[in-house]
């Protein structure tokens, strides 16, 4: 098949978006299922093509497919922009992740969103998102990438605010867009800086310029930092992390797809895509590692105390994205992307599980759940598998990728390694706190919208969860012998030992397994058998608990102090006053002065010709005198 078919991978979802919004929604609004079907059909085709592309890339020399460009804007002697696709191993892996998770989420949504009045709108946006996300990973130049980077941000905005009649959702959507745009500002500035210095947007060319050293020094560092700031915004890394927990206001399948598996991982992808720019600047790479490592533990602490199941998962996502950044900063593309690859499946599964639980109980508050193991065996089983995977229990997928990140950080950033180890413990604790509170014990009645006894979700929702659960087990096997690392081109593997059992011959995996086990045990002790009282512990660490629960007061700092008081309420309000009374006041002042002057002068216009004649005479005299003296 010709390689141009790769274009279809992202164009197909765009077609489905166009068909739904132009035909189905206006004319077939009474047949809501149609929108879902066409989305699923187009994504199945995209997935098929993605698999084909992966096969081709594996077979191709240098793991890259050549695809012809299209001209976009050309200004002779100024700027030349082509649109093109870049299909290498990194792209191929991302294509699989995005199209597969998206397909599963769309199938699940058929059940979860059933009966929602915005059904067509939902699938239209989901198609648009998937298409943009696929285009983002395919783009071969930074500008084209930025275009779709903004488009996925738009879809995120639209889908967080899907239930726009709820003020919380509308606020969260706006917050997500503006906070990520703050990061995008850095990304755009970096694009301008790179173009100024190199005259190109092409990623492959930038790679070779960085590798040959033509692009180096402070320029390279600043460009890399700028690009990273875009990644910080999208991937909700500290200090731009505040939008992601609020983004949970969107429908749960949206959280699964956009705010767990794919879009938030775009930041990690961006760093990986521009990796040569980072790897040739020590400062930039260290920044990535430090921000990532810090975010991992910072977010985990907040995850410890949240009572909303989706918010726990949101902080867990931020924390895991931090791990990926740490992996990129200390190891290499393969390390970070391998965790992204595994994380996409088990985190999407966790969110779908949360949605399934919500479907049954009408709440997201884990304090109102409990005992769901009996009622929802499939949800329970898949959720536990995903939890074990994220915690990093051998031999599930999370184990393999987390192990590599720990090993590579031990090598280059020992402090971050200890933080990451501590995070392993926290991850285990908060995940199993959720598991025990949700599925263990007795049913505590659910939310106000709950109807009778909880029940297992319909098979259309369970089936995608089972598929993802299988992946959460096996996806890590790709790199048991370093296959993933080799495919991504550099053969990095930082585990100290290899092989399915062989890896256990080194103490490091044992150390992390013990920490994870302790975390699970502590959660078991507190929330399942209640050897320890949660309240007692909470009051023992009251200040710390408050600090975590109030999210370190970052929301207050940003929204009230920085934006509310300093900018909008302070500076901007001052400028508004200045505009009304200063600038416009001056204009009106000039006008009033003129009018007043006119009034004064009017007195001179007496209508008496003698007086006018006198003035004319004085004027002529003055002119003659002037000519006489100066002429």
């Amino acid at each position: 098949m010709p390689y141009q078919l790769v274009w279809l991978i992202f164009l197909l979802p765009f077609f489905s978006f166009a068909i739904i919004s132009l035909f189905f929604r206006p004319f077939l609004n009474h047949k809501p299922k149609l929108g879902g079907y066409i989305t699923i059909a187009s994504l199945t085709a995209s997935l098929g093509l993605s698999v084909w592309a992966l096969m081709e890339v594996m077979a191709a020399p240098g793991h890259e497919l050549p695809i012809p460009d299209i001209n976009w804007v050309i200004i002779e002697g100024g700027i030349t922009i082509h649109l093109g696709l870049m299909v290498d191993s990194l792209t191929a892996v991302m294509l699989i992740v995005v199209s597969l998770v998206s397909l599963m989420v769309q199938i699940y949504s058929q059940g979860y969103m059933a009966g929602d009045p915005g059904y067509h709108r939902y699938f239209a946006f989901m198609s648009l998102f998937t298409g943009s996300m696929l285009a983002l990973v395919l783009a071969d130049n930074l500008l084209f990438m930025y275009v779709f980077w903004e488009m996925v941000g738009l879809c995120s905005y639209l889908l967080i605010g899907f239930w726009f009649h709820r003020p919380a959702a509308a606020n969260a959507a706006k917050k997500a867009f503006i906070v990520t745009r703050l990061g995008d500002f850095g990304f755009l500035a970096a694009i301008l800086l790179l173009f100024f210095n190199t005259g190109t947007f092409d990623i492959a060319e930038l790679h070779s310029l960085a590798i040959t050293g033509a692009l180096a020094g402070t320029t390279l560092t600043w460009a890399a930092i700028g690009i990273f700031s875009g990644a910080v915004g999208k991937s909700a890394q500290f200090p731009l992390h505040t939008w992601l927990p609020d983004a949970m206001e969107g429908p749960t399948p949206v959280s699964a797809l956009i705010h767990a598996a794919t879009m938030v991982a775009a930041g990690v992808f961006l760093v990986a895509r521009c990796y040569p720019l980072f790897s040739h600047s020590v400062e930039a790479l260290t920044t990535v590692a430090v921000i990532g490592g810090f975010t991992a533990i910072f977010a985990a602490t907040m995850g410890l105390v949240m009572t909303d199941i989706k918010r726990v998962l949101a902080y867990s996502t931020i924390s895991q994205l931090g791990y990926m950044m740490l992996g990129l900063g200390t190891g290499g593309i393969a390390i970070g992307i391998f965790h992204l690859f595994n994380h996409a499946f088990f985190k999407a599964l966790l969110f779908l599980g949360a949605g399934s639980v919500n479907h049954a109980t009408g709440t997201f508050d884990i304090r109102e759940m409990g005992g769901l193991r009996k009622f929802m065996p499939w949800t329970y089983a898949t959720f536990v598998i995903a939890s074990l995977s994220i915690v990093g229990i051998w031999p599930l997928s999370g184990f393999w990728s987390k192990e590599e990140i720990l090993a590579s950080s031990l090598g280059s950033q020992p402090i971050l390694f200890y933080l990451a180890m501590l995070t392993v413990f926290m991850t285990a604790f908060y995940m199993f706190r959720v598991v025990f509170l949700t599925f263990g014990g007795k049913y505590r009645g659910g939310g106000s919208e709950a109807h009778g006894k909880p029940h297992e979700s319909p098979s259309v929702m369970v089936m995608p969860m089972v598929v993802l659960a299988v992946l959460a087990v096996v996806s890590g096997f790709w790199n048991v012998t370093g296959g993933f690392g080799q495919f991504l081109g550099h053969g990095e593997t930082h585990s100290f030992a290899q092989g399915f059992f062989g890896i256990l011959t080194h103490p490091l995996p044992w150390l992390s397994l013990i920490l994870a086990g302790l975390g699970i045990l502590l959660a078991y002790a507190i929330y399942s058998v209640k050897w320890l009282s949660a309240e007692r512990i909470g009051s023992m660490f009251k200040p710390l608990y408050t600090l975590f629960y109030r999210k370190y007061w970052f929301d207050e700092l940003y929204e009230n102090v920085f934006v509310g008081k300093a900018l909008v309420g302070g500076l901007f309000a001052g400028l508004q006053v200045f505009d009304t009374y200063g600038v416009d006041g001056a204009v009106n002042g000039v006008a009033s002065a003129t009018v007043a002057g006119g009034r004064a002068i009017r007195k001179a216009h007496t209508g008496q010709l003698q007086l006018y004649g006198l003035f004319i005479g004085i004027g002529i005299l003055a002119i003659i005198l002037c000519l006489y003296f100066f002429g």
């Binding site: 001209n71 976009w72 804007v73 050309i74 200004i75 002779e76 002697g77 100024g78 700027i79 500008l143 930025y146 275009v147 779709f148 903004e150 488009m151 738009l154 905005y157 605010g161 726009f164 009649h165 003020p167 509308a170 606020n171 959507a173 706006k174 867009f177 503006i178 745009r181 703050l182 500002f185 755009l188 500035a189 301008l192 800086l193 173009f195 100024f196 900018l567 909008v568 500076l571 901007f572 309000a573 400028l575 508004q576 505009d579 600038v583 416009d584 001056a586 204009v587 006008a591």
Partner: protein, 494 residues
């Protein structure tokens, strides 16, 4: 040249205005149809010109030249190049659509449409004139219909706003006239082309060349507008009737930007280079200051009006970065802003007309009652905040790239980065506005409020189609614009 395309395009609306004004006993409907036809034909013709425009040369095309007042060497001289053609299309496009937007006008429709059509003729004349006197004449004529349209069909403090507009504009044109006369007395010519080609070096002017530059620039800066000469704009926009706001924001402001490129940069390349750092600084102040003040507005229409100040700051930045890409970007930004803000004002008009409310603190939840208006309003808003795939992104990006890489102003990179910061604030006020108008709980007081009707959907679709077309494939315009910019680069010695 067999057929005088430009004369036809310019004066057809005037012919329509004369018919509407002087043929007695015309029914309302007939007046509207006549206006629609007499604006649609220029639109069709200008698109035809766009299609046959020779993109391989950087020359003035479709030229018409007749001797007009031989004693002062004034000519009736028309022509378009890559710089003015997009603006001509912009005006004919808006000219036709504002007739549709005004379809519900019932107050004195005969006069209303006559003034509206005269307005179109005068703006088209400004974009097509190559003779300074003719240019000035068209520039002045525009004030008259504007005054009546705002003061009769406007809202709020309409008389104040109309007078303010007139006085401000006349103040600017007085400066401009002084500038044009100085040029004429120095060179003995009124032809923009000739003066630009020979340059001013060989002439001695009564006043320094830089002074002539600033006389002209002041007139254009008021129109654009540039901080601190902007305060007429929020008042005029806010109090004008919807269709007039659309023309005002869409096409009229562009006379300022066009004049700066056509006269200030082309005739005074050296002076422009000398003072570029100052003007770039003013551009950035306009961008950031405009955006900051916009964020404080609580009146829907006033908010959109203020946003223009910020967006036109990008035009000024692109012009006085004096780079090839930046000038193309500035021209594209003028076109793009015309369409996007035109649509925004049209949507504001619909919301105000249908919901009877314009205070952002009292609006809310309207997406239930007016889903189509909400979607189109959002698309226009996203265009204004520079979302990729809309024309706003293509234009702003070219301005940024062009300014960042410009070699004329040292340290322009810092200015550009500050300008880029403006897009964050823009996102803030646009999304805040959309949320205030459309999202949140559905309000009972708006029950029964109507969505867009068929005619309104038609013109909305036309706007959206242009925004997306230029956004997805900007080369459709940049290929034309760059032929107009290339000769200017030659004059700048770059």
């Amino acid at each position: 040249m067999d057929f005088n395309y430009l004369t036809t395009i310019i004066f057809l609306p005037l012919a329509g205005a004369i018919i509407v004004a002087f043929v007695p006993n015309l029914h309302h409907k007939v007046i509207k149809w006549i206006s629609a036809i007499f604006t649609f034909v220029p639109l069709a013709l200008s698109i035809y010109l766009f299609a046959i425009f020779d993109r391989s040369v950087g020359a003035i095309q479709f030229e018409e030249k007749l001797s007009w007042i031989p004693t002062i060497n004034a000519h009736y001289h028309l022509g378009v190049d890559g710089l003015s053609l997009p603006l001509v299309i912009l005006m004919t496009f808006l000219g036709f659509l504002v007739v549709l937007i005004s379809w519900k006008i019932d107050l004195r429709p005969r006069e209303y449409f006559a003034w509206l059509l005269l307005l179109e003729t005068s703006i088209l004349g400004v974009f097509c004139s190559l003779d300074l006197l003719l240019f000035f004449l068209f520039w002045e004529i525009e004030v008259i219909p504007m005054y009546f349209l705002i003061s009769i069909w406007g809202t709020g403090r309409k008389e104040y706003s109309a007078i303010k507009y007139v006085v401000y504009t006349l103040f600017g044109s007085a400066m401009m006239l002084a500038g044009i006369l100085s040029l004429y007395f120095a060179t003995g010519s009124l032809s923009m082309v000739d003066i630009a080609q020979t340059g001013l070096a060989t002439f001695t002017a009564v006043i320094p060349v830089a002074a002539i530059f600033f006389l002209l620039l002041t007139g254009f800066a008021i129109k654009l507008p540039v901080f601190p000469l902007h305060t007429w704009l929020p008042d005029a926009h806010t109090d004008a009737p919807t269709a007039v706001s659309v023309v005002l924001a869409g096409a009229l402001l562009k006379m300022g930007g066009y004049g700066m490129i056509r006269l200030c940069v082309t005739i005074f390349p050296q002076v422009a280079q000398q003072y570029a750092p100052l003007l770039v600084a003013f551009a950035i102040v306009s961008v950031l200051y405009g955006a900051a003040v916009t964020l404080r507005q609580t009146d829907l229409k006033r908010l959109i009006a203020y946003s223009s100040i910020s967006h036109m700051g990008y035009v000024l930045l692109g012009i006085f970065a004096l780079g090839q890409v930046s000038l193309v970007g500035a021209t594209l930004q003028m076109f793009s802003h015309g369409i996007i803000t035109g649509l925004l004002f049209a949507m504001v008009g619909l919301v105000m007309h249908n919901a009877g409310e314009r205070d952002l603190r009292k609006l809310g939840g309207l997406v239930r009652q007016m889903p189509i208006i909400a979607v189109v309003f959002s698309i226009a808003g996203l265009g204004a905040l520079g979302l990729p795939t809309t024309s706003g992104f293509a234009a702003e990006f070219l301005v940024f790239v062009g300014s960042f890489t410009s070699t004329v102003v040292s340290g322009i990179q810092v200015y550009t980065i500050l300008g880029v910061l403006g897009i964050v604030i823009t996102a803030g006020y646009i999304l805040w506005m959309l949320q205030r108008v459309f999202y949140g709980p559905v309000l009972e007081k708006f029950n029964g409020v109507k969505d867009a009707d068929i005619l309104e959907r038609v013109y909305m679709f036309a706007f959206v189609a242009v925004i997306m077309l230029v956004g997805i494939y900007p080369a459709i315009l940049t290929d034309v614009i760059k032929t107009g910019i290339m000769p200017i680069m030659g004059l700048l010695g770059a």
